[in-house]
Symmetry: C2
Subunit: 178 residues, 2 copies
């Protein structure tokens, strides 16, 4: 019972944090007026950021679906866990693993691209951009911070789904159900 | 017993693949002669690549230590798994999780930085670099491929360490040992 509550809580939190990430990054714009032209910075300028927005939205949707699964199926399946419950546990475990790794990769890539925008790369003649668009960069930083908190929550959740799956197996014999 | 064999095999493979990654990226250089000057490309030019080399080396060392742990401690601890074995399983599980996430983050960041070098970023006036240093870029690509295979191996290994830990727990009661 405690397990179920913590899973539901973690999933609700990660949905909220993922939506926050997508909003912080996706709604971030700053317009700067130079002497001869105007330049607007959005998340579409950097491919890694637009991928992050997409991935965070999809991951939030996935966790929402899992929440529905938790509330609908748990009551029916908890009783006879040896039957179809084991397949459900395997599916949840694999999907959770895929979700956390994809979200984590998108966050790491976005962090790397943002760091390059912040520091530039002298050897490559890539110039810094954050001295021009400071407020924009701070908001992206906030988005990345909330993205990594979402990863932490999802990693905890994937451990719980691993726990739910593997405790069905025997401690003595390999892949043998209890 | 099968479990142990597959864990040892996975760890040996991932040590080899991680060393291959570090060598492919770390030993990659290309010198190009322009009209007035000479330019040498190494992995030190891009911070993400030098971080990847460091992380791959440390991860290979970690997996080597875990291999030694497997061969030394397994015989002694397998008999009375309810005592100190549970602490060892928790430590292995947590360390494996940390190792895979750090390796995966380093790989994703290096992939993002390499993609930026390959495509450039028009909005930012960041120029492409791989049309000049083609062979260098191909070798980095090979290094990243082997880095992601190492991640796959380490993800499988972290699932095994989760299996080894969580199957010690009861399927009916939360965090209750069998």
């Amino acid at each position: 019972m405690k397990m179920k509550t913590s899973e539901v809580l973690l999933r609700i939190c990660s949905v909220l944090v993922l939506v926050l990430t997508a909003c912080l990054v996706g709604l971030d714009t700053q317009t700067k007026r130079f002497t001869f032209f105007e330049r607007k910075a959005t998340f579409r300028d950097l491919q890694a950021l637009s991928i992050l927005v997409d991935v965070a939205s999809v991951a939030a949707g996935y966790n929402l679906l899992q929440l529905i699964r938790c509330s609908v199926l748990s009551a029916r399946f908890d009783v006879n866990w040896k039957g179809s419950h084991i397949y459900l546990a395997w599916v949840c475990f694999l999907l959770d693993q895929i979700a956390i790794y994809i979200t984590f990769a998108a966050n790491s890539a976005a962090l790397q691209a943002s760091l390059l925008s912040l520091t530039g790369a002298k050897d490559f003649q890539w110039m810094k951009l954050c001295n021009t668009f400071t407020r924009f960069c701070f908001q992206i930083g906030g988005g990345l911070l909330s993205g990594f908190s979402a990863c932490l929550l999802m990693a905890a959740m994937s451990s719980i789904s691993a726990f739910n799956l593997f405790r069905l197996y025997s401690p003595k014999r390999f892949l043998f159900l209890k």
